[in-house]
Symmetry: C2
Subunit: 334 residues, 2 copies
Amino acid sequence: MFKIRSLVTALALAGSVSVASAWDALPTQADAPADNPTTAAKVELGQMLYHDPRLSSTGTVSCASCHNTMLGGEDNRPNSMGVNGQTGGRSAPTVWNSAFNKVQFWDGRAASLEEQAAGPVTNPIEMGMKSWDDVVARLQSIEGYQKAFEEAFGKGTISKENATKAIAAYERTLITPNSPYDKYVGGDKSALSAQQVRGMEKVAELGCTSCHSGPAFNGPGTFQKFPVIPNGYWEAQHHFGKDKGLAEVSKKQADEHLWKVPTLRNVALTAPYFHNGSVKTLDQAVTLMAKLQLGKDLSKDEVADIVAFLNSLTGEFPKQKMPVLPGTPGSTFN
Amino acid sequence: MFKIRSLVTALALAGSVSVASAWDALPTQADAPADNPTTAAKVELGQMLYHDPRLSSTGTVSCASCHNTMLGGEDNRPNSMGVNGQTGGRSAPTVWNSAFNKVQFWDGRAASLEEQAAGPVTNPIEMGMKSWDDVVARLQSIEGYQKAFEEAFGKGTISKENATKAIAAYERTLITPNSPYDKYVGGDKSALSAQQVRGMEKVAELGCTSCHSGPAFNGPGTFQKFPVIPNGYWEAQHHFGKDKGLAEVSKKQADEHLWKVPTLRNVALTAPYFHNGSVKTLDQAVTLMAKLQLGKDLSKDEVADIVAFLNSLTGEFPKQKMPVLPGTPGSTFN
């Protein structure tokens, strides 16, 4: 794994901030767990499975439907639409750079990409399969998948475990390096505009980076309460209190309104914002985050500077080939 | 346009059929209309538009959702699922080789790919946009599309006409040559098995090729009545009478139950079958076509031979890159 760490200096160079912050470029590769080393055959199979709507009950919803690899890694909807037009209460997180998340899902309930990949397939309002046994039976009925699993894992290896491993292996390749920000911290001082540099300074000065730091702007911690500062008006406006985050899973009062700190990479491409997708623009998202997490009212210019900086986090998307999915024998969907 | 025509000979060689039939390999390129010459920039833009779910009201349905270019050019469903989980009464025809259709849609109501491309976008149960003005406004709000249209058509050219031209230009590249059948008629006599050759002979002998001939097996005519031979039992079983085909558009009695003769290319990948997707397997489709169009009861072996031959019509899918769709500013979808 390549990791470029630039202990900048950027702010010090800019001259207006007294503390030096660590600004990290995005690695171009992601570490894989010991039991799922990344191989070309797994990535190829994973790309097929990820884009295959036949992993849903209706044959209409693939992982890519909500986490679109042709777009910013999600669907630009407040809430995604699963099988039969159903919608849930949360906004799809981007798949780009999800390899760098410490936990997965908005509430962080999955510890790995492998674990995450198993979830939506059998969620009744997402992909709607009755069970993974049904998914495995469907994959087994498709000759081309028998071959693709054989190449990735060996003969007769179609299983939930291997399907989710392949999807995770593919997702680990979905990295968007070389953003203007990455070039800037790599030494190309012309990569950011003066406004973007002002926004970068402001992000550190305000304290945004106390939660959104590191190469993916999603650390150093894992979870954070939202909102930190109670605000009846905005909470009512956006129904922020309705969904209790991690507590919905853990059932612990201490976990109420705890959320995974999301990456800011490619954030300009992933409107609308927040866990319930209720915030339509990046301007509004920045304004609300400052108010509800840091207790600060930003000026219009400050918001514009920060948004300009956030736009510099849009990276280069890897060139991908379109997968060719193996044919379906007979009719499976109603 | 390259066109390989092989006046075969194949049947004569096989020795058991007295009339020589014309068996044509699939061209590798399709002619474009004079007012829409195919260019690389148009094809690139067309591929983006074709795969962009933001051309639908909900942001969830693209052309590719129902006419999937990763699969057999359709969705393997009896009826496709449009926005908000809605379904219609017809089965999505394959987009592969649709450039060689004389007319488009099951009822042939569109004379060209350009005309066809305009339809589903504003169909309330397909992509659900209120109007093309709304589509154009949405595309204009996306900076990357301004640039892509400029490259394909010139500055400030986002319009319904150009969007549908680009989509059609892309579709003209979706050709699947070099099937085993194509290799066989090109002279490679080992490309088909003995059973496939028997099936090929049977197809000519029965008269299937009186409607399904030519390189795409969809001519020489354009429309055909279905069923030709009334059969109360099977018509009731599959509700064939419910949809009146061309007459639904023309309102003429003479057009009742007239349908575009569909291509047989890649037919093994496009279950379920017939205009309403009510026939689940290719075996059953062959059996019913012989009975209802030709008045013949086929033996199990004859069906198996014909199905083996139809499997030889699965071609090579062109290598495609995954399009990178330009980002959405703010939130558009509810």
